[in-house]
Structures are given as structure tokens and as C-alpha cells.
């Protein structure tokens, strides 16, 4: 089952698609779309196989691979060789993220049927983006992580800037500037860590940091500074409250299939980074920062919710709702106990699915109505009953109806926070009400009401569109009904993290 270079093959499998696309004339639209879709499948199959093998007891460490990559000698310390290796590996959490990435990529590739122009370039960038995302979650080395992290930026920039809506260039630049800033900060952190510890392997750094209780390698102040820088770097991605404005614009302007990936995966890299690096490398500092993270989380939750409440564009509502939901991730992380962290991870997965579903529907509706302005669409339940039903389902999942994944994550995050900071958590609960209020306001104004005359002549969801939606709904419900399906593979990850915290 597990052959050598399994992960490399997994991460770079979309490359095959890119290579094939190079040789296809750019006018053959259906063929290009088919190749684009097929190229996402190997990664999906490989991740699912790995996940099933893992569930059946296979050790994930078998998947780790390491190849020497580059070496250089530190001129001031003779004999000490700095090396950067090509190291891939997974744990329960990152395997989950890999699977989510592969799945959403496939679904987004299907949703890309609505792309109107230059399919060849689109799918090549799309597949490159997938490589970047897969690589981010598989990298076991900070430098490699950073490289993959950057790989995600560039295709996204072009995908937004070229295939987006009205103000796509502006959104793309905003995206690039914010994220470029974030990754610059990240690079500084990585370089400092590398220079101080002499290794860029994540686990090696973790163990060095863990044994460095006297702050010999890195002083306590520097650690704190590095962690704050890390929070800012990933906070841009997540996004955390004052750093979010790029994300709203991207959600509104980017093509929905890309937003599926963006909201589904790219935002989650922020959470992944915070959990894997923030908690893993700086456990003690993270503990002292936890309160602030929780406060930020509550601010995110409420701020996003209140702003979503007055938006008139459905995409904007969803954008602010993403901000709000990422607050739940922060709340979970801030709680810093098993329930909270598990809640945060669940929220990462769950919001990935739900946001993808919502934007899939946005793409379907936008395709037919040519707008996502809530004032201009109504009575969707009449004209497109299936789409309306799925939209309502997605909204309900998003607002945390039990039986769907959103509830589980919200519940666990709050369960965690209530143990540590009950008052803050109680304030945060206001967000639950607000979430219901703004989502219902938005979704009902689209689906319910009298169908406008010009809106009646639209087709309902096509089978090709319904399949991804059905898969997403199925997964959302599956996680909601039997959450242990995820928590099983997370146990060891969370235990490791909590062990690092000394608790």
C-alpha cells in the first residue's frame, strides 16, 4: 500500500495534469476541463487510501520521507553544516487537511465549469495552487513549508486577478500585498529559528525548543516576539480582526470556484500554522498569549457577525461570516485544552466544507442570475427548489444546527473556552445568535419570498453541479452525526500538543 515517495507523488500529482495541459491547444474547452478535473483525482485517491490505511492502524510515520537538498557551512562556526532537507511527513491533523484539500480541489475543479475564458491557463494555475496547498500540509520542514506557502500565493493572485469579477485586479493586489506581508513576516520567523537552532526540521526545532527551558538557544523575549510575529503572519491568512479587509474583497471578487478553495483551504493554512508552529514550537509562550487569542477570537466572531448582518451582497455576507467563523477557531485555540483545540480543528475542517458548499451555490446562482445582490434575487425556492434547499442546508450547517458539522466544532470550541474563561465565552455566545440572525436574513431573503418575474425562467441545479454539493452535504452531515470519525485520527495530534503545553 505505502510505497516510497508516496507523499511526494501525492503532493506533485497535479503536476501531471499541468504537463498534459501544456500540450493541449487552448481552444479545446471541454477537454481542458476534463483534464483539469482528472488531474485532481490522484491526490484525492492517494489521500483517501492513506486515511483508510491510517484508520486501520497503519503508522503515519511510514509516510515520512527525507532527501538531502542543500547544505552549506556556517563561515563563523567551522565544521557546523547547515542543511535544508526535502522532508515530507504527515500526522493525523495534516492528513485530514490533505484530504480536505484534495477533496475540495476536485470539487472546485468541477465547479470550474462556469469559467468563461482561457481555461488552459486557469487549470494550469489551479493545479499549481493545488500542489502548493498539498505541499503546505505535507511539509515537515519550515523552509519547504514556506516555499509551498509562497506557491499558493502566486496562482491565487493570477486566478483572482484574471478570472474574477468587476474589481478583480484591485482584489488581487490587495490579496497579494496583505499575504506578501504575512509571508515576509513568516520568513523572518523561519529564518530566526533556523539561524538559532541550526535546523529547519519542524520536529527537531520542537524538541530543541522543548529542552530549552533556560532559554539558552532563544531568549524568552525573542520567543514571545517570534510567536507574536507568527500570529500576525498567520493572522493575515486566517484572518484575524484588523487584518481581514483583503479577504472580504477577495471573496467578493474572485471566481467562486477559487473562493471555494480560498475559503475552504487557504484560510485554514493560517489555523494550521498556528496550531502546528505556534503551539508546537512555542508552547509556553502560547499559553501566556492564549487569553488574547481568545479575546481576538470573540472579537472576530462578533465583529464578523455584526457586519454580516447589514451587508446587501450575499458574497459579502459569506465573507464576513468566514471571518466570524474563523473567530471560533481562535476561541478554540485560546481555550488551550483538549476540547478547545479539537473544536478548532473541527471548525477548520467543517468550515472548509461549509464555505465550499456555500460558494459552490453562489457560483450556481450567480451563473443564472448574474448577480449576488440579495435585493435582486428572491423566491429561489420557487425557481430553483433544489438549489434553494441546498443553500438553506448550507446556511443551517453554517449557523450550527446540530446534526451538521458546524455545531460540533462550535460546541467543542465553546466547551473548551467555558472551562477557561466563562465570561468571555458567554459574550462569545452572543455570536451564535447573531450568526443565526444574519444567515437567516441573507438566505431567506434569497430563497423565500415571491419569485421575481424575470427570475422565474432559470434552470435548477444541473447534475454536474449537484454532485459536488451532494458530496459536501453528505460529509457535513456525516461529521455532524458521527464526529468520532474525525476525532479518532486527531487524538494523537492533540495529545502531542497538550503534552508540549505541559498539561
Amino acid at each position: 500500500m505505502m510505497f516510497p515517495y508516496y507523499l511526494s507523488l501525492l503532493v506533485f500529482s497535479p503536476l501531471i495534469g499541468i504537463l498534459v495541459l501544456v500540450f493541449i491547444p487552448k481552444v479545446k474547452e471541454p477537454f481542458i476541463k476534463l483534464i483539469g478535473f482528472l488531474a485532481t483525482l490522484p491526490a484525492l485517491i492517494l489521500t483517501v487510501i492513506a486515511y483508510i490505511a491510517h484508520r486501520n492502524g497503519a503508522e503515519l510515520s511510514e509516510l515520512a520521507e527525507k532527501v538531502g537538498w542543500m547544505q552549506f557551512v556556517n563561515p563563523e562556526m567551522a565544521g557546523k553544516i547547515y542543511s535544508i532537507d526535502y522532508e515530507l511527513g504527515v500526522d493525523g491533523f495534516s492528513l485530514l487537511m490533505l484530504m480536505l484539500t484534495a477533496l475540495l480541489s476536485t470539487l472546485a475543479a468541477i465547479a470550474s465549469i462556469h469559467i468563461k475564458k482561457e481555461w488552459k491557463g486557469y487549470f494550469m494555475l489551479f493545479l499549481l495552487l493545488e500542489i502548493g496547498m498539498l505541499g503546505v500540509f505535507a511539509a515537515e520542514n519550515l523552509i519547504l513549508f514556506f516555499i509551498f506557502f509562497e506557491i499558493t500565493l502566486i496562482p491565487t493572485f493570477f486566478l483572482i486577478g484574471k478570472w474574477g469579477y468587476f474589481e478583480k485586479e484591485k482584489a488581487a493586489f490587495k490579496f497579494l500585498v496583505y499575504n506578501g506581508l504575512g509571508s515576509a513576516i513568516l520568513l523572518i520567523v523561519i529564518m530566526v529559528l533556523y539561524a538559532r537552532t541550526g535546523t529547519s526540521n519542524i520536529e527537531a526545532i520542537m524538541s530543541i525548543m522543548a529542552s530549552d527551558s533556560d532559554h539558552l538557544v532563544v531568549s524568552a523575549g525573542t520567543k514571545m516576539g517570534l510567536l507574536i510575529a507568527l500570529v500576525v503572519a498567520f493572522g493575515v491568512k486566517l484572518p484575524i480582526f484588523p487584518l481581514h479587509s483583503w479577504m472580504v474583497e477577495v471573496h467578493v471578487q474572485a471566481p467562486p470556484s477559487i473562493v471555494m478553495l480560498h475559503a475552504g483551504i487557504l484560510l485554514k493554512i493560517g489555523a494550521y500554522g498556528l496550531i502546528k508552529f505556534g503551539m508546537g514550537i512555542f508552547p509556553d509562550q502560547f499559553q501566556s498569549l492564549a487569553v488574547w487569542l481568545a479575546v481576538l477570537g470573540v472579537i472576530n466572531l462578533l465583529y464578523g457577525a455584526f457586519l454580516a448582518f447589514i451587508q446587501t451582497d450575499f458574497k459579502k455576507v459569506l465573507a464576513y461570516s468566514s471571518i466570524s467563523h474563523m473567530g471560533v477557531v481562535l476561541i478554540g485555540l485560546g481555550a488551550l485544552n483538549a476540547a478547545g483545540i479539537q473544536g478548532a480543528i473541527f471548525q477548520v475542517v467543517s468550515h472548509g466544507l461549509i464555505a465550499a458548499l456555500l460558494f459552490l451555490l453562489v457560483s450556481i446562482v450567480h451563473e443564472r442570475y448574474g448577480t449576488s445582490d440579495m435585493a435582486k434575487i428572491s423566491g429561489l425556492a420557487k425557481s430553483m427548489p433544489i438549489a434553494a434547499g441546498i443553500l438553506l442546508t448550507a446556511a443551517l450547517a453554517s449557523l450550527g444546527i446540530p446534526g451538521m458539522s458546524g455545531f460540533i466544532s462550535e460546541f467543542m470550541a465553546f466547551l473548551g473556552l467555558f472551562k477557561e474563561m466563562p465570561v468571555l465565552a458567554a459574550i462569545g455566545c452572543l455570536g451564535i445568535i447573531m450568526t443565526a440572525a444574519y444567515l437567516l436574513r441573507a438566505v431567506l431573503s434569497i430563497t423565500f419570498g415571491e419569485a421575481k418575474r424575470e427570475n422565474t425562467e432559470v434552470n435548477d441545479v444541473a447534475p454536474l453541479e449537484a454532485i459536488p454539493a451532494a458530496i459536501l452535504v453528505g460529509l457535513i452531515v456525516l461529521i455532524g452525526v458521527y464526529p468520532n470519525i474525525l476525532s479518532g485520527s486527531l487524538t494523537s495530534t492533540i495529545e502531542t500538543i497538550l503534552l508540549g503545553m505541559g498539561g
Binding site: 455584526f306 448582518f309 485544552n337 423566491g379 446540530p402 465553546f414 423565500f448 476525532s487 479518532g488
Partner: protein, 622 residues
């Protein structure tokens, strides 16, 4: 049989899934599927109830979610209260399914309607079977979801949309209370299991203040769901849904879930005097408050809705007065007679196609079956002796009196008087007197609608006899069997209470008759006499307007402020940073004039600065 109880909710779930997927093709056949599956549920529920008489509580659980060291479980439990509720819910649901066959006849989306009904029934049965608080909460929300979907069934109506939204959000406010209470309780006890919670409470593991806080938070959940003051306003609006839905959800089952929750958490509440007092006060206040509004409403369903709110207040009052049995008993009888009333009202609406009672009248002769059935329901709810409502209401009054809430007792008596009055006002206006609307084409409802009403009428008459001071308190004894915390099966009260209760209800009926039946008292003496009071009542104490002014406007205003912050501060800072950078780069680009001299100047100035700098500092290598 009890080990198979898990199968009960699965039938409606199956119905839901099946109909949502294949419903479009089945159309009218969907009704039969729904009816059949709910009937199966009902039969098994009945079997379970019978089995429960002879054997102890059954409980089965499996691990549902692992969080660190905690294992959260999911499963089902059959105890006395659950078994009773199972039967009530599945029976009413079955009857409503059947009734809807006639009521919704010809509606193009009937399969969706049955699917939603199935979902709701599934959730409600799941709620009833839950062995732990978390599972209760999950189904609690799902019940709300079912209610939301059904209220918004006529999605193209703006009112239905608003009502559905309002119902969802207002109950959610309550749910958050429950959510917080539940989590706090978890960290106190370390488990969501009812058994362990009660064990911890009785062992005194939780401080007094904490219990009070938790109990009140959980009670907020019940307030939201059961339409208690101040979260009651969604319930009358929920009447926008189809009438069978109102009967099922907003009369018999879901709104009673709040009462059920308090009942099933009773040992926790009983441990806090403050919480009990709060429940009693809220209950009594809601009872009289809603009843007073009900007096002046003109929409047949709204009158019934306010009466539901009021009756739920009675139940809460009972529970708050330690009258566990009284509360549950009234919950049961109310389920029957209120469902009957709603179905009968539906039958009336079905016949005359209006809900405005001003446009009805004189229907007694036209609706030969519905009329008497409605009368039975009315008598039952008014507390006329020998019908079920009489016994349960009496039980509540006794509990209240015995518990020492004298003032609340008199409030409840007044509320009972109001109840009798407005119910008979409704009856007289609809069925007697002159026909005020077009009644030419009025026809009695089909059999499929009448049969459920008949069954409910029988129950509305007879259900009271399971727990009477005269023929034995079978229900009470059974409910409290083996559980000290629930109090005594039967509370002995002074006999005059029964007399008073009978007297006020008859007085109410008499007054209604005088005003609306015989018309010896002018109908408008009240509205003309004290128009201010009448206005307040007709506008439901302006609660909706108050909420709109404060909460809705407040939220919007707050959002606008945040939006302002977003635009001015957050974006502003970003714009400022961007402006500074672009300003700097503009400055920089001015040097890129293409003139060699400028470049030379800059390069030389740089050199000069470096030279001077090194000369002053003595150089880097020094």
C-alpha cells in the same frame, strides 16, 4: 420492547429522507408514506409504554465523540416521562399526519410538507428519548429547525418568511441560554448524563449559586422554546404556518418541550429555591399576560396561540411550585385538547377560508361535526368539570397553593377565568349568531380530517381520568415511582380550590355567553369603555414594537457603527499605510526622471553621506 425504542424516531426520519429524495415523483402518495411510518412509530411507542409499566428504566449508549479524557455518549433512555411523551408525541404526530392528508390536499408541495413533518417528528421523538443533556440539546435544536421549516412552508408569503425567521432567532436566544447552562454544568459535573448530573446535585458537589445560575440558564432555553414571557412573541406569529403544523408543533409537542426539559431536569431545579421561584413567577405571569392578550385577538389561530402561551405558563407555574406531576399531567392533557382545538380550527379555516373571527359566525349548523368537537376542546381548556383540563388545572392550582405561592395562586385563578372567557368568546363568535361572512359554500371537512379530531376529542375528555383526586392518582404515582427528587405523586389540597376553579371557569363562560352568545352585554363595552387598555391588549402590550425599537434597531445600529469602524478605521489605516507607501514611491519615482544628472546627483549624495558618515563614526572596521 424497550431495547428497540431507538427504532421509534427512525421511522419519521426514514419518511423525511425518502420524501425529500423521491417526494417530487410521489406527490400525493407521499402522504400515505408519512402516515404509515408515523403510525408504525406510534405503535412501537405504545408497546414501549406498555412495556415500561412492567420493567425498570432502560438505557443504552455508545461513544459518540471523544474529547481528550472525556467520552461523550449518545444513546436512548426509556423512563416514565420519556415513555409517556413518546406516546403523546407519536400519537399527535400520527393524527396530524392523517389530518394533513385532507387539509393539505391539492398543495403542490405536499411531499415537502410531509418530509418536514417527518423531520420534526424524528427530532421530537429523539428529544424525548435523549438520555443526556447534550443529546437533548441537539434534538432541541433540530425540533426548532423543523418548526422553522414548517412555519416558513408558505415561503412566498412575506409574513411566513418573517415569522419563520423570528421563530428561529427568538428560540435561538433561549437555546444559547441552554447551551451555556449545559456547558457550565458539564464542567461542574464532568458529564452530560442526566443520572450523573442528578447524582452530583444530590451529593452537593455543586455550589448553591452555581446551581441557581445553571438552572436559570437552562430555564431560559425553556422560556424560548415554550414561548414564555419575554420570549413569547414568536409563537403567535408562528401561526403563519399551515394549521396542522400549529396543532402539532405549536400546541402539542415542541412548545411543550420547554416544559418537558424543565420536568426532566427537575431534580436540578428543585435544588435551587431561587430558580424554582423564578420559574413559578414567569409561569404565572405568562399565564395571565397571554390570557389577557387572548381576550381581544381577532384571528382564530392567534387566540389559540395566546391560549397556548398561557397554558404553558400554567405548566411552568406548576413545575415552579414543585408540582412535577401537575406540570406533566397538564402537558399531556393540553397536548390533546389543544391539538384538538387547532385541528378543529383548521377544519373551520378549511371550510371558510379565513382566519378572521369577525367574518365567521353561525357555523354551528354548517359544521355539524367540527362544531361539537371544538366545543369539547373549549370546555376542556376552560376547566369545566369532568373533562381532562379540569383535573390537570386543578392539580396545578393545588400545587401552587400548597407550595405557598398565594399571590401566584390568585393570579392563576384569574388567568383561568380569562381562559374560559376568551375561549368561549371564540366559540360563540365562530359558531353562533349571525353569519358575518360568505358561508354559502361551507362544507364539513372530509373524514380523513374528522377522524383524528374524534380521537383527540375522546382523549380530551378522558385523558384526565388517569390522575384524579377521586379515582386515584395513577399517573402521578407512576411518574414519581422510584425517584424521590420528583416530589410526591399526589398533593392533597383543600377542597375549596376545586370549587373556586369550577366557579371561575363557569363565570368566564357565563360572561362570554352574555356578551357574545346572548348579547345582553354590549360587545364593545370594553373596547369603548377603556380604549387605552383595549389598545394595549390588542397590540399585545407593544412587545413586538418594543423589541423592534430596541433589539432590532439596536443591533442594526451597532452593526452600522461597526461598519463605520470597518470603513473608517480598519480600511482607513490600510488606506493610510497604502497612501504613505505610494506617496513615498511617487517621491522615489520623481527621481527616476530619466535625467542622468539627477541620477548622478542622487548617487553622489549617497556617496557623500556615506563618506561623511564613515568619517564621523570612524568606519565600520574600527
Amino acid at each position: 420492547m424497550m431495547e428497540n425504542a431507538w427504532i421509534i424516531p427512525l421511522f419519521p426520519l426514514l419518511s423525511f429522507l425518502f420524501l425529500i429524495v423521491f417526494g417530487k415523483r410521489l406527490r400525493a402518495v407521499s402522504a400515505y408514506i408519512g402516515i404509515f411510518l408515523t403510525f408504525a412509530s406510534f405503535i412501537i411507542s405504545l408497546l414501549v409504554l406498555i412495556a415500561r409499566f412492567g420493567s425498570p428504566t432502560y438505557k443504552a449508549e455508545g461513544i459518540w465523540l471523544t474529547i481528550g479524557d472525556y467520552q461523550l455518549t449518545a444513546g436512548y433512555e426509556v423512563n416514565q416521562l420519556n415513555a409517556l411523551m413518546l406516546v403523546i408525541v407519536s400519537l399527535v404526530s400520527f393524527l396530524v399526519h392523517m389530518y394533513s392528508k385532507g387539509y393539505m390536499h391539492g398543495d403542490g408541495r405536499i411531499s415537502v410538507f410531509y418530509a418536514y413533518l417527518g423531520l420534526f417528528t424524528f427530532a421530537m421523538l429523539g428529544l424525548v428519548l435523549s438520555p443526556n443533556l447534550l443529546q437533548t440539546y441537539i434534538f432541541w435544536e433540530l425540533v426548532g429547525l423543523g418548526s422553522f421549516l414548517l412555519i416558513g412552508f408558505y415561503f412566498y408569503k412575506e409574513e411566513a418568511k418573517a415569522a419563520a425567521k423570528k421563530a428561529f432567532i427568538m428560540t435561538r436566544i433561549g437555546d444559547v441560554g441552554l447551551f451555556i447552562g449545559m456547558i457550565l454544568l458539564f464542567w461542574q459535573v464532568g458529564s452530560f448524563e442526566y443520572d450523573e448530573i442528578f447524582a452530583a446535585v444530590s451529593a452537593g458537589m455543586i455550589s448553591e449559586q452555581m446551581i441557581t445560575l445553571i438552572a436559570l440558564l437552562i430555564f431560559i432555553g425553556a422560556v424560548g422554546k415554550s414561548g414564555q414571557f419575554p420570549l413569547h412573541t414568536w409563537l403567535p406569529d408562528a401561526m403563519e404556518g399551515p394549521t396542522p403544523v400549529s396543532a402539532l408543533i405549536h400546541a402539542a409537542t415542541m412548545v411543550a418541550a420547554g416544559v418537558y426539559l424543565v420536568a426532566s431536569m427537575f431534580p436540578l431545579f428543585a435544588a435551587s429555591e431561587t430558580a424554582m421561584m423564578t420559574i413559578a413567577i414567569i409561569g404565572a405571569f405568562t399565564a395571565i399576560f397571554a390570557a389577557s392578550i387572548g381576550i381581544v385577538q381577532k384571528d382564530i389561530k392567534r387566540v389559540l396561540a395566546y391560549s397556548t402561551v398561557s397554558q404553558l405558563g400554567f405548566m411552568m407555574l406548576a413545575l415552579g411550585s414543585a408540582g412535577y406531576v401537575a406540570g406533566v399531567f397538564h402537558l399531556m392533557t393540553h397536548a390533546f385538547f389543544k391539538a384538538l382545538l387547532f385541528l378543529a380550527a383548521g377544519s373551520v379555516i378549511h371550510a371558510v377560508h379565513t382566519q378572521d373571527i369577525e367574518k365567521m359566525g353561525g357555523l354551528w349548523k354548517k359544521l355539524r361535526v367540527t362544531g361539537p368537537l371544538f366545543l369539547i376542546g373549549t370546555l376542556a381548556i376552560s376547566g369545566v368539570p369532568l373533562l381532562s383540563g379540569f383535573f390537570s388545572k386543578d392539580e396545578i392550582l393545588v400545587s401552587t397553593w400548597v407550595h405557598g405561592h398565594t399571590f401566584l395562586f390568585w393570579l392563576a385563578v384569574v388567568a383561568a377565568f380569562f381562559t374560559a372567557f376568551y375561549m368561549f368568546r371564540l366559540f360563540f363568535m365562530v359558531f353562533t349568531g349571525e353569519a358575518r361572512g360568505k358561508t354559502a359554500n361551507v362544507k364539513e371537512s372530509p373524514g380523513v380530517m374528522v377522524i383524528p379530531m374524534l380521537i383527540l376529542a375522546v382523549l380530551a375528555i378522558g385523558a384526565g381520568y388517569v390522575n384524579t383526586p377521586w379515582f386515584g392518582t395513577f399517573l402521578g404515582d407512576w411518574l414519581t415511582e422510584g425517584n424521590q427528587a420528583l416530589g410526591h405523586g399526589h398533593v392533597e389540597g383543600p377542597a375549596w380550590i376545586m370549587v373556586v376553579a369550577t366557579a371561575v371557569s363557569l363565570l368566564g363562560i357565563l360572561l362570554a355567553w352574555l356578551m357574545y352568545g346572548k348579547k345582553t352585554i354590549a360587545r364593545d363595552w370594553f373596547s369603548a369603555g377603556v380604549p387605552t387598555v383595549y389598545g394595549i391588549l390588542a397590540n399585545k402590550y407593544y412587545i413586538d414594537e418594543f423589541y423592534k425599537m430596541t433589539i432590532v434597531k439596536g443591533t442594526t445600529a451597532f452593526s452600522r457603527i461597526l461598519h463605520f469602524i470597518e470603513v473608517i478605521v480598519v480600511e482607513g489605516i490600510m488606506k493610510m499605510v497604502a497612501g504613505i507607501i505610494s506617496g513615498l514611491s511617487k517621491l522615489g519615482s520623481r527621481f527616476q526622471s530619466g535625467q542622468v544628472q539627477t541620477y548622478g546627483t542622487v548617487a553622489f549624495l549617497g556617496l557623500a553621506i556615506l563618506v561623511i558618515f564613515f568619517a564621523v563614526t570612524g568606519g565600520y572596521l574600527k
